[in-house]
Symmetry: none
Subunit: 197 residues, 4 copies
């Protein structure tokens, strides 16, 4: 059997991923503008110049981190919604999905919450945010069509529900709340009262 005609490249570039990981951590710890590129390079275990082989400049790196996080969250939630669930079950899936995503990838979650309007974000990043929003709005409209979700602007319900979840994370970060399974379950019940008709 003939070997396919593409060059055998290094495995989808470990270094690119290492740079993204390091940048995500550091942008959370020190903010985008407070993070020197050489520090990203050091944390990623690469040379400073190497970053510029993978990202045109610091802004591009910031946008790449944003997109990776946003798409990871989108995919994580999308995987949980598929299927023939009731709207209540769907909401449970989303809420648990947020919690699982946060547990598996807290840095990504915090980055999205904190850097959602960094001045370095470009049009494409904004477009991705809009696409994620649109698919979420569809989910809400399905629930409203079924009469299970409250009749209010989908944007309003989405904003308040995600906002409430983010509020939990921030309060936990401030040390005034411990986010464990039972607290998140309580919170789901609370949030559900916002959504249900």
């Amino acid at each position: 059997m003939a070997q396919p005609m593409r060059k055998l490249s290094v495995p989808a570039s470990d270094k690119r991923q290492a740079i993204l990981d390091a940048a995500l951590e550091l942008f959370n710890e020190r903010s985008f503008n407070g993070t020197p590129m050489p520090l990203v390079a050091e944390r990623a275990g690469v040379g400073a110049g190497t970053i510029y082989r993978y990202f045109e400049n610091k802004d591009a790196l910031g946008n790449a981190v944003f997109r990776v996080c946003k798409l990871a969250l989108q995919q994580h939630l999308a995987e949980r919604i598929r299927g023939g669930l009731t709207p209540r079950q769907e909401f449970h899936a989303v809420w648990r999905g947020l919690w699982e995503f946060f547990g598996a990838n807290p840095a990504a979650f915090r980055f999205l919450e904190t850097h959602h309007h960094g001045s370095y974000l470009d049009a494409e990043s904004a477009a991705i945010s809009d696409a994620v929003f649109d698919s979420t709005a569809d989910f809400v409209r399905r629930g409203q069509a079924a009469g299970t979700f409250r009749a209010a602007a989908p944007a309003l319900l989405i904003a308040m529900t995600f906002g409430a979840f983010i509020g939990l994370v921030k309060e936990a970060d401030a040390g005034r709340l411990t986010l464990n399974e039972s607290v998140v379950d309580d919170a789901e019940e609370v949030a559900w009262n916002m959504l249900r008709a």
Copy 2:
């Protein structure tokens, strides 16, 4: 009797206020680390060196902005809660208070939401945040004692309620929602369903 003929001198703290205002705007637009001090000076209409007559350094300026905003919000809400209101009326007062504060001072509101754990914030700023939280928690506990508010950790209810409001503002900033009086009233009804027993 005629007013004596002396020149009206500018109030001594004119420039201090101008610097605080400029810093608040710019820290929102460009983040703390992304804002050069000379730009703050320019926006405030003062010389670069003048800032340092009023604030020891950039961190001190950041903390001053934070405290001014936090205390203004606290006072704004406190003024609206006093009196013999029912918990539902108190909640209305708080929700409207947030909305009014945001309308009167959107920059201050956004600053608090975005910069609540900037690495430049010092212990005193953190203490103020805690004090504001404590007085809010008292408000929640009063409502719970009266049986009107849901029995859940006050920190959880506070986090989710403020988070929901902040979610609205962010969504409005993203251009996917228009925050007007009727939307805010709808949102109040939604949020109330989180709180009520």
Copy 3:
């Protein structure tokens, strides 16, 4: 008796002297370039702007301090040389004069030693140094004419003798020597062996 026709002025300006004193101290403690003018003003107990009524700028202040010190030393030594002393007695008078001047005015002495070629010193300051040197050279030549002083270039003898005294002061400053009366007497004997024929 008619009063002379000049304005009664403030007593030869206390402030000018206070500024000179403060500058002398601070230039010694922190060097010329390391001393901010506002600090000179504060130490002198005057407003920052006031210095500029008495001295055109910082360089002019530095030159004024230099001249005051140089002339004070010159006068101090000149007072001790007058009269019909033998060269040995004259040398004793000079050496003791240096010691007394240092004791009475250590700041002035150290300033002259440390700042003798500050880049801010102007031609007039240099001229004063030369004049002081010339009168000292005359003293040496008198001693050489009398056959009491060693026949060598006066500049050489002056340089080495003053240098030796300054060396004592520096070593005392470094904490490796205590300058008291008996040490200075010993040193005079040592120095005399450089000069005598």
Copy 4:
């Protein structure tokens, strides 16, 4: 056998040395505080930021210059003293050593004389100064034990002898004395009369 054909690369510490040389020159010309780092960089032919790859900050650069000069002088003198010389011969070696060092490295000599107690000098620099002093004091005590040197505090003799030499250099700088071989020989004779018993 032919030398291998690899490119001759510049020694790694090329720039470090250029920076030290430039700093030494400029600190002499304009004093430590009077010398801007960008000017050091320009004189050294490097970028301003490059200095900070080799020295942590300006103070560290000042200390490095001081140590290089002090150790160079120490080594220069130490090389000349070894052997079975008489104290008079040893003194000749030291005096000539000073003169040769000054001739070979006038900037280093002047730096040591002028900056010996700059406020930026750290404990290690002070320790080096003390060590150099101690070894010189040993030399003096040897001469005193042999009965050739005057019985006086070694610190006093050292201070006056070095002070006298420095006085010569200063007088030459002031343009009132030309330091040539015969003048230095005369001066040695003069200085020897301070030291000898």
